[in-house]
Each structure stands twice: as structure tokens, then as C-alpha cells.
């Protein structure tokens, strides 16, 4: 077997190969449908185009999914992130709306600190429920998922809270070096999490807790503390994502902000190759998964797929990604395809088999 062949094998069996293929396929399909899809222009000193939109809109999902990755790596799940987005965004917007000068930098920073603090407290609540009291993560976080929406609506008094603050707005729609500021925030968070988990033993410890919490504890790892920590990190990520979502439309909508983002985040994590059973995780894969999901959503709008069929379209793409990623499915597929190739007799047999059918 030549080196080129083995390199090809290594590439196609890499766990992120197929998500990348689907992502590229989506972009190609968009470009075929409308050649201008790839075009990026400079407008008002920053870049403008569908690809830039995808980057900007995927930033909150990347953040939420990063936090989710760590939670899932410990074998848990955090369903409350969508509600946390709504709460943190609502707290920040409420504080800003009460300021005499909504554009004051100090006011906006205080608002962000408040929003983050509330989210951290709620993340700690999740952490205590799971790590200390020992409730199943899916149930423990379900509590806040449901109650949190109500809390967010209480904060905004059921209204859509509109604010007019340019520093806050910048988090959602601002630009840095001609690119959306939001994507830089998401990348910074990714680098920080990557540095903390992969440059230290923390990542390994998280994976070991996910692999077997009891064995890890017996090996001297404080499993409960690690589990608690990942829920707090997840909440912090969700809070920043909530700021982006509300800043994007300069208004806090307790009901709609971050609605169902937890499901998209779990999907992004799974597409990225992190096992739902815990024990291993891939941050790069998660980012790729989030980009894929946002590209899918943008594709629906850009290609004007009718709203009635768009959910089906998304489902088909997601199922396709998951199936071709599964080694078992792929192996079966490749074996079948290869059988007739080596010998003519094999091809005859196949034909014979087909006749009665």
C-alpha cells in the first residue's frame, strides 16, 4: 500500500472529515444556486456577505456549544443554556435600559458583569444539583430550562425590552479588523478553554470523570468538583452568548432569545465527534459542528426553501452527517461497494441476486 493511499485513508477516517465535506458541500450548493453567495464586499469599512453573516450568527452557538462540550465530556448534559441566554441578556438589557445614558461604557460593563454574575449563580445551582445532590443531569438542568424562561420573562415583565446602546450593540453587530466582533469573542473563549483544558491536565481529568467518575475519584480526582465546574463554565458561555443574541437585535426578548439553542448546541457537539457517553471531547469539532448548523440555517433562507419543508431538509442533512460519520455504517457501505469490483464472478452473483427481487 503506497503512502498516498494510506494518507488518503487517514484523511477519510479522520472523525472531522465528513462534517467538513458536508460543510463544503453546503457552501458549494449555495454557490451553484447563486454564484454571489461567496462574494464578500467591503461596506462601511467592514466585510459584508453571506459568509460573514454565517460567522457572526454562529458565534453565540459556538459559545454555548463549547460549554456544552465540557459538560457532555463529563457524561452530563445541560438543557438550561437556552434559558440562561435569555436570563443573562434580559438582566443586562434591563440594567442598561435603566441608565440615564445608555451609551456609557461603565454602565454597559456593569450590565455585563451583572448578567454574567446571575448566570454563574444559576450555573452553580445546576452544578450543585448534579455534583452534590446527585440528580441526573438531564433532569437537574431541565428544571432551569423550564423555570428559567419564566424567570427571563419576569425580568423583562413579559415585554420585549428595547435598548439603544451602541457599546452593547457592538457585542452583537460590531466589527474588529473588518470581521464581526462576535466571532472574535467566540474564538477567544475557544482558545481560553482549549488552553485551560489541553495545556493543563484539566481536559484529561474532565475526560476521566466522564469515563468513570467513581474510578477517577478513587484515583484521587475530585470528581464532584470537576462536574460542578463544567456546569459553571457552561453557564458563563451561555451568558456571553445571551449578550450577543440580545445585542444583535438591541432588545431582550425573554421568550425567544436562545430558544432551542440547547438542542442546536448538543447537535453541534455530536457532529463534532464528542461522545454523548462522555469520556472524550473535541473543541475543534464542536466549532465545526456549530458552523455547519448555522450554514444549514442560512442555506435554507438563501436558497428560499419553503418554511414547510425546511425542517425536513435540515433533518435529512443532519441524519446524513451522523450516518456517514458512524464507522459501522460507513464500513457496511464501502464493503458492499467493493464486493463486485475484484472478480467478475462476484458481479454475476450480485446480478443473480437482483433478479428475484
Amino acid at each position: 500500500m503506497s503512502t498516498a493511499q494510506s494518507r488518503y485513508r487517514a484523511l477519510t477516517t479522520h472523525r472531522l472529515f465528513w462534517p467538513v465535506v458536508v460543510l463544503v458541500a453546503l457552501v458549494v450548493a449555495n454557490t451553484v444556486y447563486r454564484p454571489g453567495f461567496l462574494s464578500v464586499q467591503v461596506r462601511d469599512g467592514h466585510l459584508y456577505g453571506s459568509l460573514i453573516d454565517i460567522l457572526r450568527l454562529s458565534a453565540p452557538l459556538i459559545l454555548v456549544a463549547l460549554g456544552m462540550t465540557l459538560v457532555i465530556a463529563t457524561g452530563g448534559i445541560d438543557l438550561s443554556v437556552g434559558s440562561l441566554c435569555a436570563i443573562s441578556g434580559a438582566v443586562a438589557c434591563l440594567y442598561i435600559s435603566r441608565q440615564p445614558d445608555q451609551n456609557s461604557m461603565g454602565g454597559v460593563l456593569t450590565a455585563l458583569a451583572l448578567g454574567l454574575a446571575v448566570a454563574l449563580v444559576l450555573g452553580a445551582w445546576n452544578g450543585v444539583l448534579v455534583a452534590v445532590i446527585g440528580i441526573q443531569p438531564i433532569i437537574a438542568t431541565l428544571i432551569l430550562m423550564v423555570a428559567g424562561r419564566g424567570l427571563a420573562q419576569l425580568i423583562t415583565e413579559g415585554q420585549i425590552l428595547t435598548i439603544n446602546s451602541s457599546p452593547y450593540k457592538a457585542i452583537g453587530v460590531g466589527h474588529l479588523l473588518t470581521l464581526p466582533l462576535a466571532i472574535f469573542i467566540a474564538l477567544a473563549a475557544a482558545l481560553l478553554i482549549a488552553a485551560v483544558t489541553r495545556r493543563t491536565a484539566l481536559g484529561l481529568i474532565v475526560e476521566s470523570v466522564g469515563g468513570n467518575a467513581r474510578a477517577s475519584r478513587l484515583a484521587g480526582i475530585r470528581s464532584a468538583r470537576i462536574t460542578f465546574l463544567v456546569y459553571v463554565i457552561s453557564a458563563a458561555c451561555a451568558a456571553v452568548a445571551g449578550f450577543m443574541m440580545t445585542a444583535n437585535v438591541s432588545s431582550a426578548d425573554g421568550n425567544a432569545a436562545g430558544l432551542w439553542v440547547e438542542l442546536d448546541a448538543i447537535l453541534a457537539v455530536v457532529i463534532g465527534g464528542t461522545s454523548l457517553a462522555g469520556g472524550r471531547f473535541s473543541l475543534g469539532g464542536t466549532i465545526l459542528g456549530a458552523l455547519l448548523i448555522q450554514t444549514l440555517t442560512t442555506t435554507v433562507y438563501a436558497m428560499n426553501i419553503s418554511p414547510q419543508t425546511s425542517l425536513l431538509f435540515k433533518a435529512v442533512v443532519v441524519i446524513a452527517v451522523c450516518l456517514i460519520q458512524a464507522p459501522g455504517f460507513r464500513a457496511r457501505f464501502t464493503r458492499r461497494r467493493r464486493v463486485p469490483a475484484p472478480a467478475a464472478a462476484g458481479a454475476d452473483e450480485t446480478r443473480k441476486e437482483q433478479v428475484p427481487a
Binding site: 447563486r34 454571489g36 453567495f37 461596506r43 462601511d44 459584508y48 456577505g49 453571506s50 453573516d53 450568527l57 428544571i143 423550564v146 423555570a147 424562561r149 419564566g150 420573562q153 415583565e157 413579559g158 415585554q159 420585549i160 428595547t162 453587530v173 443574541m245 444583535n248 437585535v249 438591541s250 432588545s251 426578548d253 425573554g254 421568550n255 425567544a256 432569545a257 440555517t297 442560512t298 435554507v300 433562507y301 438563501a302 436558497m303 428560499n304 419553503s306 418554511p307 414547510q308 425546511s310
Partner: protein
């Protein structure tokens, strides 16, 4: 969480009931002012109301109107927020039946799947009033009346205004449409009404139509792609103000002037929408009034007394141009 919220009104209801029993004798002549004319000395009417949720400013104004007019009309209101979920709403209605309220009113989250629970209400002899949104039950006897806006008419009014504006247009007029939540009655009907109205002029063409889920974020995200996919957009028709407001930001970011480069028509007339209209960023709003509280209380009293009511009652509504918005804005309640 839910359990406590439901059991509290229940206990309150029990307390009120006991108090009412004790007080009937004395209070019979005391509350004649709330009964209104012929009502005389009725017991206090108990109305169970299940709201869709608080998905928009419109809905909040609707809730406020119902709560305020219930207090004014002397109706005891049991209010439930279904948070956009049909199962919550069905549960709330079952609770109302158990609590033996006098009248049940609700704004259905979705159109279908109500027959069973409405049958239960009918069996318990509790009249049901639909507000704001209809259900698609074949059996019309399951509810007394439907009080609400005519969404088809709203879409039609929006379309007729556009036809009038563009009657001298020689070339094609490209329209993009931001639909509401897929499958919801307002989205279906507004789309239909609008399409029927603009059919009068073959130059008016809908070039793209997507769901923005009635939210600002949804409206913005969809409009961003519309603007990139369609080089020439003349008109935006949004099924509610919030999606229009989200789209405004996308239009500005694309370097176009909303209200001038792109004519914007929306439905609802909530405060932020009216402000945008007065500021010249929107061009036309067909009102969908949420202030149906007073009409609802009157109806509830009528059906409770067994009076005949029409099967369909429309809320009083109007339309706004930019000038009318400037005039109306200072007096708007919501």
C-alpha cells in the same frame, strides 16, 4: 413549579367560593354596579383564561387589557400562561373545568388538536370563548364564539394599500415576505389575504417568502439573506412589527434606507412598530388590536347567562400611514 402555581389559584378559588357562599345573602344587592343593567344580583362571574404566552409586545398588551377589564367589569379572572405549549394550555383548560369556572376563554397556541378537551368543557356545561386565534374543529358547537381579529382581512388591507401605492408602477415590483410561525393561523391567513389582494396587479410579485417566527432575531436573520439573494427588493411585507423591526437593522446594514429604498408594510401596530412608522422607517401598518378585554368581558357575561351571541365577532381595528402614526402615537396604550 407548575404544581404550586396551579394549586395556589385552586386553593384561592376554594376560599373565594366559601366566602361567596357566605356572602351571597348580603352581597346580592351590593354589587349591582358591576353587574351592569339587567344583570341584577349575579354571583361574581369566574372566567378562566389561558394565554398563549408572552411572545411579543402585542401579547403583553393583550394580557394587560384582559386583566384590567376583568377588574373593571368585576369578573374574577383565573389567568394561565401556556408559554407557547399546547399541552400546557390543555392542562390549564382541564384545571378550569375541575375548578368549575363559569366561562373558559383561551387563545389557542395552534389550530388543531382541541376537540377532546373542548368536548370535556362542553360535557361540564362550561361555555368556551376563543379569543384572537381560531381552532379548526369541525364541530362548531364546541365553542360559543370566536372573538378576534380577522387575519385574512389584515393581510388584505396591507395588500390593498400596496396595490393602491403601486398602481402606476410600469415594471415588476419585487416583494419579499417574512412569515410568522409556520402553521400558525395569523401566518397562514395574513399570507393568504395579502396574496389575494396583490393578485389584482400582475406586476406585484412575491420573490421570496420565509418564516421569521414572529421574532426580531428571526426577521433580521432572514432579511439578511433576502437582501443578498435578491438584488432588487422593492417591498417588504412582514407578518408582524417585530420581524419588521429586525429586518430594519438588516436593511440598514445593507446600506439601504428603510421606508425609501424598500417600502415596508407590517401588521400589529405595537408601540415600537408605530414609532418606526412615525419615524418614516415603516410605510404602512394594518392594526391588529390586542385590546379585546372589554369585548371579552361583555361576551363572557352574555354566554354565562345563556344569551345567544354571534359565532364570529371581530375586534375593532384600523390601519395607519406614517402621518396617522404621528398623530396616534402619543395616545397609544401599548
Amino acid at each position: 413549579m407548575k404544581r404550586t402555581r396551579n394549586s395556589l389559584p385552586f386553593r384561592k378559588a376554594a376560599a373565594v367560593l366559601t366566602a361567596a357562599l357566605l356572602a351571597t345573602g348580603m352581597a346580592a344587592c351590593g354589587n349591582s354596579d358591576t353587574g351592569g343593567g339587567s344583570a341584577g344580583g349575579d354571583d361574581k362571574l369566574v372566567l378562566g383564561f389561558s394565554q398563549v404566552g408572552a411572545e411579543s409586545g402585542w401579547r403583553t398588551a393583550n394580557t394587560t387589557s384582559i386583566k384590567e377589564s376583568a377588574a373593571e367589569a368585576g369578573v374574577e379572572l383565573k389567568f394561565d400562561d401556556a408559554q407557547q405549549k399546547q399541552e400546557n394550555q390543555i392542562k390549564a383548560i382541564r384545571n378550569f373545568i375541575q375548578q368549575k369556572v363559569d366561562v373558559i376563554a383561551f387563545s389557542p397556541v395552534v389550530e388543531s388538536g382541541w376537540d377532546t378537551v373542548l368536548k370535556e368543557a362542553k360535557d361540564a356545561k362550561i361555555p368556551v370563548i376563543l379569543t384572537d386565534r381560531a381552532v379548526d374543529s369541525a364541530d362548531k358547537s364546541l365553542y360559543k364564539t370566536f372573538l378576534g381579529s380577522d387575519f385574512k382581512k389584515e393581510g388584505r388591507l396591507a395588500g390593498e394599500w400596496l396595490v393602491e401605492q403601486k398602481k402606476s408602477a410600469s415594471g415588476p415590483v419585487n416583494i419579499v415576505e417574512l412569515q410568522g410561525t409556520t402553521g400558525s393561523a395569523p401566518a397562514n391567513d395574513r399570507k393568504e389575504g395579502f396574496a389575494a389582494a396583490i393578485a389584482a396587479n400582475p406586476n406585484l410579485k412575491i420573490v421570496a417568502s420565509q418564516s421569521g417566527d414572529f421574532t426580531r432575531a428571526g426577521g433580521k436573520q432572514v432579511m439578511e439573506q433576502f437582501l443578498k439573494a435578491n438584488p432588487k427588493i422593492d417591498v417588504l411585507f412582514a407578518h408582524n412589527d417585530d420581524m419588521g423591526l429586525g429586518a430594519l437593522e438588516a436593511i440598514t446594514a445593507a446600506g439601504k434606507v428603510p421606508g425609501k429604498d424598500i417600502t415596508i408594510i407590517t401588521i400589529d401596530a405595537v408601540k415600537d412598530g408605530m414609532q418606526a412608522l412615525a419615524d418614516g422607517k415603516f410605510n404602512f401598518i394594518a392594526e391588529c388590536s390586542p385590546l379585546l378585554g372589554p369585548q371579552l368581558m361583555e361576551l363572557a357575561k352574555k354566554v354565562h347567562k345563556g344569551e345567544e351571541v354571534p359565532a364570529r365577532i371581530e375586534t375593532e381595528e384600523t390601519t395607519f400611514t406614517q402621518e396617522q402614526a404621528k398623530e396616534a402615537l402619543p395616545n397609544r396604550k401599548y
